[in-house]
């Protein structure tokens, strides 16, 4: 066996490990004994230690309880002592495991004995006994008490002794263990040390021999071998070293031979170097040739730069051409602008056309109405019937013209859309309510449905969507004679290819019917104006064929598409695809707000021109918050000229204070102020309920109208401002506080839209949802005008109207009533409505028209005329003795109007244009009223009106403007010119008569 190094090391390590193991086991044995003792102490002694004092304490409590009971003379309290005794017994029971059972039993007996005696003694003491026997009893009791106490002490003392014993045991065990460990550890250490010394000595000797051998090799004595001793790894190393020394000796001999060869090689290299030098010489010659070639290259380069110059010249030419092109495109743009103008001309032309069409229609309607009324009773019933037919046809024609106008408006981009969040359910429900009765009348079933994945609300113009759907569903009902009409709202089918819309954000309104359907050859043309599904269809169903064209334009306007999916004879399906969010919000909202001019104060003179500019009610009309004294002076002059009183504030704080104290009609506000800026002033004004409703107009050099309007200003004028603009601002702010208009509309979004549009009239609008609410509101405030939606008339609304009518009869303060409805009212309904309302607007009446009507009423109010030209009074209207001037270039109208007016007993003068009218008025200053067309040759109605108003004697002369153009703005223009009222053409004879009547009755009252 070889005693290797590794074996020796392992042996030593294992002996050490074994020794450790012994030590560990031994100490574990010791500790376990100690641990046992400790556990015993913990489990037995410690509880005993704790219980002992507790029992002692309880015992003390027992005696105290007795004492207390006796002191209190309370025999019942003695029962308490039983409880305390039981507790001690319970503790003894608890400590059964740890107490000496005999001692514990003795204690219990002693305790019971004491308790019995103490009870007896206590009772007697309470009873008041005190004799010698009593003293004996007490003594006995005290003995028992002493015994019990001693027993307790014994238990506790016993524990202490026991505990000490346990501790002594544990300590002895610990000490003994320590000694054992010391002996074992010492023995092991000695053993290991001995072994290590023996082993190391042999090892060191071998290493020394090895070291000596290597030292000799280093000196070159390669043949001096190292003695190999023993049989371990060092012996192996020695043998290896000897082998290496032998090999080294051989290598040395080899090296000697190689050195000789190297010397020979060196010689040969020197020869080759000489040859290389010769070659270098040749290379230099070649280099010179190369230089010559470079020169040639330079010349070529110069030629090239010449070319480059020519090129840049060509580029300049090109640029010139470019310039021309740009010029061309500029001209193109100009052309485009011209085209836009032409387009505007076109819509203007259409508007004029409609006027031209309406004028003859006017006389037709008027005369046929007159004939149908048969005032002289000389017509046969047949003839009256014919007259009615003519009248009806005329009305149809008017409807057609209105639709053409609508289409023209959309195409001219003048149709405004009003985008806001709308509930899909509301739209659909509205359609259902309108058409369900119509469908039922025709025996069709009408279903509506909204798919689950359609969002609850979409952002679009709800009214336009309603218009589209009304059209589609109306058509479906009209062209279906049997079966069903369905309206479904859902996501588009995946198979449908949408042009611009994204499927995920698109909603499809699908209208399906089981009607005659539309042949494929008509599919494309159906959306063109005046096209219908075949000529025959047209004849049978009537209608203009404009509805679909308008619907498609509206759909496009809302960013969507309108499509037809139909099979002839199987019914048709119209699908209107609309985006969830209509993207034109910004575009349509902004210009409207900015562009709506405050309606100007018209010719009726303001009732405020008083001396010194003091207002009649002693109120401040205007407050100007402005720090520029020059500008203040200018403004002051303008305000003073208008007979308005005013106050100036040089800083924001003063301004706010004055606004609160004086409550001016309007405030002109600058932005740059010395203390707080105008924006903050504006916010403060709006935040205070006292000033929140005062209109504020910014006039500032800071160009930020958006911000001002966003804060709720009525307008924003940028300095430097033209005087006429300032005049406008002052007049609009200085006019009387707005009239109040009440809107009764069950559809909240429509109500909101109406309110917003009414806001442009500078009226205070209140929107209520039901007739009940309306009555409440009417109790509290008075309103100039009330607008009622009767699309879905319900009992309450009709009742409301009746109540109002009764009030009016009792000459109470009642508003003028404007009714409007989505669908044509039945004959009986129409009659009923007309009896209630001043104006009834039905199917196709636009919001513009509604606004016009409201404006008309407000005008009448301002002119001091009665609020309510009682309808249907025209039958009884008498105009005897009244001299009227009718100004119109169209003789047919003149004839028709004169006939109607003369029939009522008025004297009628006629003028064919404004100039003639002025002459006639000069000649007949006693004219009672003027009826003036606005479109006339030579001098138009606006100009004529203005000139009439310029004469003081005609300041209060009633002038009724006849406007044919239903375009927005006509009404405003005529009012601006000074007309007292206006009527749209064609003229409703009744309306004109009642209007005139109201003027005269109003005059008489005044």
């Amino acid at each position: 066996m070889r005693l290797t190094l590794r074996a020796s090391l392992i042996a030593i390590v294992s002996i050490m490990a074994a020794a450790f193991l012994v030590v560990i086991v031994a100490s574990d044995l010791v500790t376990s004994r100690v641990r046992e003792r400790l556990v015993e102490i913990e489990q037995r002694q410690i509880p005993r230690l704790e219980l002992g004092p507790r029992i002692a304490a309880d015992f003390a409590e027992l005696t105290r309880t007795f004492q207390d009971a006796v002191a209190a003379q309370d025999a019942d309290a003695l029962e308490q002592t039983r409880r305390v005794r039981d507790r001690i017994v319970a503790r003894l029971e608890e400590g059964k495991a740890v107490f000496d059972p005999a001692a514990s039993e003795e204690l219990r007996v002693a305790l019971d004995a004491y308790h019995e005696l103490a009870l007896d003694v206590s009772r007697r003491m309470i009873a008041g006994e005190g004799g010698e026997e009593m003293i004996e009893r007490i003594t006995r009791m005290q003995e028992a008490q002493a015994r019990a106490q001693a027993q307790i002490d014994r238990v506790v003392a016993f524990d202490a002794r026991y505990l000490r014993g346990a501790f002594d045991d544990a300590r002895a065990a610990l000490l003994a263990g320590g000694r054992t460990r010391l002996v074992i550890t010492g023995t092991c250490l000695a053993l290991v040390l001995g072994l290590a010394i023996v082993f190391t000595r042999g090892f060191v000797r071998s290493i020394a021999a090895l070291h000596e051998g290597f030292a000799r090799f280093g000196k070159g004595e390669l043949d001096a071998l190292i003695p190999v001793r023993g049989n371990d790894e060092i012996a192996d190393v020695a043998a290896g070293a000897n082998q290496m020394a032998k090999n080294l000796a051989e290598l040395e001999a080899e090296r000697e031979r190689a050195a000789a060869e190297t010397r020979e090689l060196l010689e040969r290299t020197r020869e080759q170097a000489a040859r290389l030098q010769a070659q270098e010489e040749e290379l230099r010659a070649t280099n010179e040739e190369l230089q010559a070639q470079q020169e040639e290259l330079r010349l070529t380069n110069e030629e090239l730069s010449e070319h480059a110059r020519q090129l840049s010249e060509q580029r300049a030419e090109l640029e010139a051409k470019n310039e021309e092109l740009r010029e061309l495109s500029r001209r193109l743009e100009q052309k485009a602008a011209e085209l836009a103008t032409v387009s505007a001309f076109k819509s203007q032309f259409l508007a004029n056309m409609s006027h031209e069409l309406r004028t003859p229609l006017n006389s037709m309607l008027l005369l046929s109405q007159l004939l149908a009324d048969n005032p002289e009773g000389n017509l046969t019933p047949k003839q009256v019937e014919y007259a009615r037919t003519v009248n009806g046809a005329g009305k149809d024609l008017l409807f057609l013209i209105n639709q053409v106008l609508d289409l023209a408006k959309i195409e001219a981009g003048r149709q405004e859309i009003h985008v806001e969040p709308v509930r899909v359910e509301d739209i659909v429900e509205r359609i259902r309510r309108v058409f369900a009765p119509l469908a039922a009348e025709k025996g069709l079933s009408f279903d509506v449905g909204i798919a689950d994945d359609v969002p609850r609300s979409i952002t679009t113009d709800g009214q336009r969507v309603g218009q589209i759907l009304t059209n589609l569903v109306g058509n479906a009902v009209k062209f279906t004679s049997r079966g069903a009409v369905k309206l479904a709202v859902r996501r588009p089918d995946p198979s449908v290819e949408l042009r611009t819309l994204r499927r995920e954000t698109t909603i499809a309104f699908v209208v399906t019917d089981t009607g005659s359907g539309i042949a494929s050859e008509h599919r494309e043309r159906i959306f063109e104006p005046f096209e219908q599904g075949g000529e025959a269809g047209n004849r049978r169903h009537g209608g203009t064929g404009l509805g679909l064209a308008i619907s498609r334009e509206l759909a496009t306007l809302l960013g969507g598409e309108l499509r037809l999916e139909s099979t002839a004879a199987e019914g048709s399906t119209f699908v209107c695809y609309l985006p969830e969010r209509c993207e034109r919000t910004e575009k349509t909202e902004e210009p409207r707000r900015a562009a709506t001019p405050a309606p100007k104060r018209a010719a009726t003179p303001a009732p405020v021109a008083r001396d010194g500019g003091a207002a009649p009610d002693d109120a401040t009309h205007l407050l100007v918050i402005e720090d520029d004294p020059l500008f203040l002076e200018v403004l002051g002059r303008i305000i003073g000229e208008r007979g308005l009183s005013w106050l100036a504030a040089r800083d924001g704080a003063t301004g706010l204070r004055l606004a609160r104290e004086r409550r001016p009609r309007g405030i002109i506000l600058d932005v740059e102020l010395p203390d707080i800026d105008g924006w903050r002033v504006m916010e403060a004004l709006r935040a205070d309920p006292a000033t929140a409703s005062i209109p504020v107009h910014f006039v500032s050099a800071t160009d930020a109208p958006d911000r001002g309007l966003a804060l709720g200003a009525v307008g924003y004028l940028t300095k430097p401002a033209a005087k006429k603009d300032l005049v406008r601002v002052v007049e609009s702010l200085g006019r009387q506080r707005a009239h109040r208009v009440l809107v009764v509309e069950s559809d909240a979004s429509r109500g909101q839209t109406l309110a917003e549009q009414l806001a442009t009239l500078e009226v205070e609008t209140t929107v209520v949802k039901s007739a009940r609410e309306a009555l409440d509101v009417l109790e509290k405030k008075s309103f100039a005008c009330m607008i009622v939606d009767l699309s879905v008339p319900d009992i309450e609304e009709l009742e409301l109207l009746e109540i109002l009518q009764r009030r009016a009869a009792a000459s109470q303060d009642t508003p003028a009533v404007v009714l409007y409805t989505d669908r044509p009212p039945s004959r009986s309904e129409a009659m009923r409505f007309e009896s209630y309302a001043s104006v009834v607007l039905d199917e196709g009446a636009s919001t513009d028209r509604l606004l016009d009507e409201v404006r008309l009423f407000l005008r009448r109010l301002e002119a001091g005329m009665p609020r309510r030209p009682t309808p249907n009074q025209s039958v009884g209207v008498r105009l005897e003795g009244k001299k009227l001037l009718v100004v119109d270039d169209d003789m047919r109208t003149v004839y028709a109007l004169s006939a109607a007016l003369r029939a009522k007993g008025a004297e009628v003068l006629v003028a064919e244009n404004g100039a003639v009218a002025l002459e006639m008025l000069d000649a007949n200053p006693d004219v009672d009223a003027v009826v003036m067309d606005v479109m006339m040759p030579e001098m138009d109605g606006y100009e004529a009106t203005r000139r009439i108003r310029a004469q003081p004697r005609f300041e209060r002369l009633p002038i009724v403007s006849l406007t044919a153009k239903a375009m927005k703005g006509d009404a405003e223009r005529s009012i601006e010119a000074g007309a007292s009222a206006y009527l749209p053409k064609p003229i409703d004879a009744d309306a004109l008569l009642s209007l005139l009547h109201s003027f005269f009755t109003g005059e008489e009252k005044a």
Binding site: R64, A71, G130, G131, M134, I135, I138, Q142, Q149
Partner: protein, 150 residues
């Protein structure tokens, strides 16, 4: 003159009435509320008040000559005891009771026996050599010896 005679009579009558109405004073020295008595063989004639008090509260248990003191009490409702308690023990009967109560239940001592009549007390004193008791001033003492309280 007649009027003067009438006036004198009235004065006299008033005086007589005054003399009659005034209560007669007891001229004899009043008997004391209580007396402290001891066995005739007891050598002491006078005792300090505090010694008597300590004896009744058993704060001292032996006479100066080494005999055991055996105090004896009257019942708590006795007026004599009340006086004695107030004047000698300087505390109320209730306080004394409470004191004994504590002594009893802490196992330290027992109160003096309470004998129901003064005769019994006298008898007790006569039959127990180290006894000390108290009775009302007018009780029959027999051979019992009164000690003066200083």
């Amino acid at each position: 003159m007649r009027a003067i005679a009438v006036g004198r009579f009235v004065l006299f009558a008033l005086f007589a009435l005054l003399v009659l109405v005034t209560p007669t004073h007891v001229s004899a020295e009043p008997s004391p509320a209580f007396v402290v008595i001891v066995n005739p063989q007891n050598p002491y004639l006078a005792l300090d008040r505090s010694f008597v008090a300590d004896a009744f509260l058993k704060k001292v248990t032996r006479w100066p000559n080494g005999d055991v003191i055996k105090p004896v009490d009257l019942p708590p409702r006795s007026r004599t005891r009340a006086r004695f308690s107030e004047q000698v023990l300087k505390r109320s009967i209730a306080a004394v009771k409470s004191y004994w109560n504590q002594m009893i239940f802490s196992g330290r001592d027992v109160p003096p026996p309470e004998l129901s009549t003064e005769e019994e007390v006298v008898k007790y004193v006569l039959t127990h050599a180290g006894a000390v008791g108290y009775v009302s001033g007018d009780a029959r003492l027999g051979d019992a010896k009164i000690v003066t309280i200083r």
